[in-house]
């Protein structure tokens, strides 16, 4: 016990709560709004109500503690000492450095995900969702803390948003819901990019990925979706592959995680990073015109921070940019060619046994393939209309 207390005292006071921008009443207003939304969801019994209400309540409490420095400090040191205490207790208890809470968190998340997969009852799905969220939070709490209270809370929010909506995306029974949850996960990913200082990537993810690619997915779903919940969305390869796949995935995740956290101590084995200022002319590459020299990736307050990204893109990786443009053109032409070829190969009603690429000569081919170009399109238009 004395040893635990000594280790506790060592952990407390290592981090300070950072300064929170804005007036106190602004944060109180935001916290009141979030708690009010939680209360509304709880009382109205909206869809998925209790998880949403609990989540919003926790967020509201976290925002509330942001407003008061003393509360911030207390909660911060409390969580740090609690997780440290748990870690030390598990290590002492098992006489073996089982990585708590990372290992238990991953296991809880895996079990929750198995429960939440398709072909379950609604109660089991909700329980699985809650369990996997708890597992995720426990795993995140097991890593080394980022500097300060506000960065940590923001990072946890973004992480839970990204991974929670990704897990929801693969567990949904309707593919439209999957696409929407994936778009929400992309928003979380964009937030994570912004957190790292990759502003262009954050915006590009929202605009290109969530704004164009997911919308294209939804268009194709509109064209090809069966009515209601299809059977193959509900059962999904039977009941045995789901636990096996989830446990294999959890094992892979645990291996990847323990590789860079080194067990219970969460100390890194990583090599020291390279020197912070990569000089452009060091390896003989021509310096791009107009690009600022030597702006490091992590220096977010530099006014030409993103300009350096553009300089690198069009200076050092210029050929890759040209190739990417060519690839886009090839993909566009290829997609159109696939659709045209596919429509030409479709068996039309009444002429299924006849070859399609013979130019129209017979009298019985007037309606479907009079001319190879117009006739096929018309025939397929009629078919599409009848479908």
């Amino acid at each position: 016990m004395i040893r635990i207390g000594y280790l506790l005292a060592q952990e407390v006071g290592t981090t300070e709560a950072a300064e929170v921008p804005g007036p106190v009443w602004g944060w109180l207003l935001l916290a009141a709004a979030i708690l009010g939304a939680a209360l509304y969801v709880w009382t109205r019994r909206l869809r998925g109500s209790w998880i949403l209400a609990v989540g919003l309540g926790l967020i509201g409490v976290a925002v509330l503690t942001l407003a008061f420095p003393s509360a911030r400090q207390t909660i911060w040191t409390g969580t740090q000492s609690f997780s440290g205490l748990l870690r030390r207790t598990m290590t002492f208890a098992l006489r073996h450095p089982f990585p708590f809470p990372i290992g238990w968190g991953i296991l809880a998340g895996a079990i929750g995900l198995i429960l939440a997969m398709p072909r379950t009852t609604k109660r089991r799905q909700q329980l699985g969702t809650a369990l996997s969220l708890l597992g995720l939070l426990a795993t995140l709490a097991g890593f080394n803390p980022l500097g300060g209270f506000t960065p940590q809370v923001v990072f946890w929010f973004l992480a839970v948003l990204t991974l929670g909506s990704a897990a929801a995306a693969i567990a949904m029974r309707s593919p439209v819901y999957t696409a929407i949850w994936f778009a929400i996960s992309l928003l979380g990913t964009a937030g994570l990019f912004l957190y790292q200082g990759a502003e262009f990537l954050g915006v590009a993810t929202v605009v290109v990925y969530a704004g164009a690619i997911v919308v294209t997915f939804l268009f194709v779903l509109m064209l090809a979706q069966p009515e209601g919940h299809a059977t193959y969305d509900r059962i999904s390869w039977g009941s045995l592959p789901k636990p096996i796949a989830v446990l294999t995935g959890a094992w892979l995740l645990a291996t990847l995680t323990f590789l860079f956290t080194d067990g219970a101590e969460a100390t890194p084995w990583l090599p020291a990073p390279a020197h912070p200022l990569p000089v452009l002319a060091a390896d003989g590459d021509p310096e791009p015109v107009g690009a600022p020299v030597g702006v490091p990736v992590g220096d977010l307050h530099h006014p030409s921070h993103m300009a350096h990204l553009g300089g690198q893109l069009f200076g050092r990786h210029l050929i890759s940019v040209e190739l990417a443009g060519t690839l886009l053109l090839i993909a566009l032409v290829g997609a159109v060619a696939i659709v045209i070829q596919g429509k030409r190969d479709l068996p039309a009603a009444g002429t299924a046994t006849e070859p399609r690429d013979v130019p129209g000569t017979g009298a019985n081919r007037v309606t479907t393939s009079g001319a190879p170009g117009d006739g096929t399109m018309e025939g397929d238009q009629e078919e599409a209309g009848r479908e």
Binding site: L146, L192, I235, T257, A324, L327
Partner: protein, 147 residues
């Protein structure tokens, strides 16, 4: 310590997104959902790349993510065209209808009894019924009390 902690957290999130995408790709049967899970795997890799770029102060991480986004857009276009054509062959987005492409010597997959969808699971969007005229006061129509 702060940079290392940032890297650790981000690598975990990247690995978790990748693993979730992999699980979804293996478990699901809808062709479009399988492709969405492949895109999720690409997002996980993107997060890891950005984290490593920040850690080593190298812009190459963000460069590669830009190209990943570009290539993902290309492959989404072509894959969705292919999926549309496959759908029009068999009128199903199921992967099982194409299981004749499997290797020789492997048994095919056959669905066992599929349970009926319960009423509590069927959720449809509700719209207010259109074309229902509200009841109107005859006196109000003849002598308007307000404009």
């Amino acid at each position: 310590m702060n940079e290392i902690a940032l890297l650790q957290n981000y690598l975990f999130i990247g690995a978790a997104l990748f693993v979730l995408g992999m699980i979804g790709f293996i478990v699901r049967r809808n062709m479009i959902v399988m492709f969405l899970c492949a895109e999720m795997m690409l997002q996980g890799v993107s997060i890891s790349l950005v984290a490593w770029g920040r850690y080593h102060q190298d812009w190459g991480g963000q460069m590669l993510v830009i190209f990943i986004i570009t290539v993902a857009a290309c492959e989404a276009a072509i894959a969705l065209a292919l999926i549309l054509m496959l759908y029009q062959q068999n009128h199903s987005l199921d992967m099982v209808v194409w299981q004749d492409l499997r290797e020789e010597g492997q048994t095919g997959y056959a669905d066992r009894a599929v349970p009926e969808e319960r009423d509590e699971d069927r959720v449809w969007p509700t719209l207010t019924p259109a074309g229902v005229e509200p009841e109107q006061d005859e006196q109000e129509k003849l002598h308007r009390s307000r404009v």
